[in-house]
Symmetry: C2
Subunit: 156 residues, 2 copies
């Protein structure tokens, strides 16, 4: 092999190696992102499945069941404490409705997230009244906290 | 229209109506089943994401972090209390690894499910030791409870 042909070959190999390494890093990043997004969507699905029935009761679409309402409110309060953990920066890219603004405006996002936790805990407390009248305002406030964050940070 | 042709037409219409109603019921059933399966898989994804890091610590693959271990153990204990709710009979049919044996052998399933809850609560208690040595046996027992149920009632 002549020196001139080796000169071409070495950068080409280096380029291939660099691309391979970048590709591997990207694949690992994607896999990590995919897992983190799946965790996030799963947590919100569990929240939704417990929040929904309370909404049906609050709006009169389902009969009020004090035990189920109280149980679901306690669950949403607990689950709200996990929510801040499911937005690692790696989960910014991928098949997600979470807007990149979450990570660009982290302080604002954290404030809305804290408000969700606060309102969910207030709802759990209010639900102990065992009455719909005693729970309705707190339910509305919790639903409002969900909406405030979704309006700002969740794509349609 | 002659009487004879009407005689053919009426049962045909009744048949079509019956099929349409059955189809609607099936579609609604599928939608309900789909939602219930999604809820179940989501709950287990959240459990898995909290159980996994404890497993990595217990096996020495990740450094022991007492605070994370204790937090995750408390989460799994709480989530185990939701688990019995995510196996409604409607969720038997659909894109799920949950075996139909769950609903055929409900008493046995419920026993294994209760054992998971018990072991998860014991793990949460043990994790308060703040040490890996104080948590390892309880972690193994909880992992064993997961496996016992999966071996019997979860498809590969």
């Amino acid at each position: 092999m002549s020196i001139s042909s080796r000169k071409k070959w070495v950068p080409a190999l280096a380029g291939t190696l660099a691309l391979t390494l970048a590709g591997t890093a990207l694949a690992q990043g994607s896999k990590e992102a995919e897992g983190a997004i799946k965790y996030r969507q799963s947590l919100y699905t569990v929240i939704y499945n417990n929040f929904g029935p309370m909404g049906a009761m609050a709006s009169g679409k389902a009969p009020f069941d004090a035990a189920v309402f109280q149980r679901n409110a306690a669950r949403v309060a607990f689950l709200s404490s996990i929510a801040p953990d499911v937005f690692p920066e790696v989960s910014k890219t991928g098949n997600t409705k979470a807007k990149p603004e979450i990570w660009a405006n982290k302080a604002e996002f954290d404030k809305l997230m804290k408000d969700f936790g606060d309102k969910a805990n207030s709802l759990a407390l209010a639900s102990k009244s065992g009455t719909l009248d005693g729970s309705k305002a707190a339910f509305g406030a919790a639903a409002g906290a969900c909406k405030a964050c979704h309006d700002k940070f969740k794509a349609e």
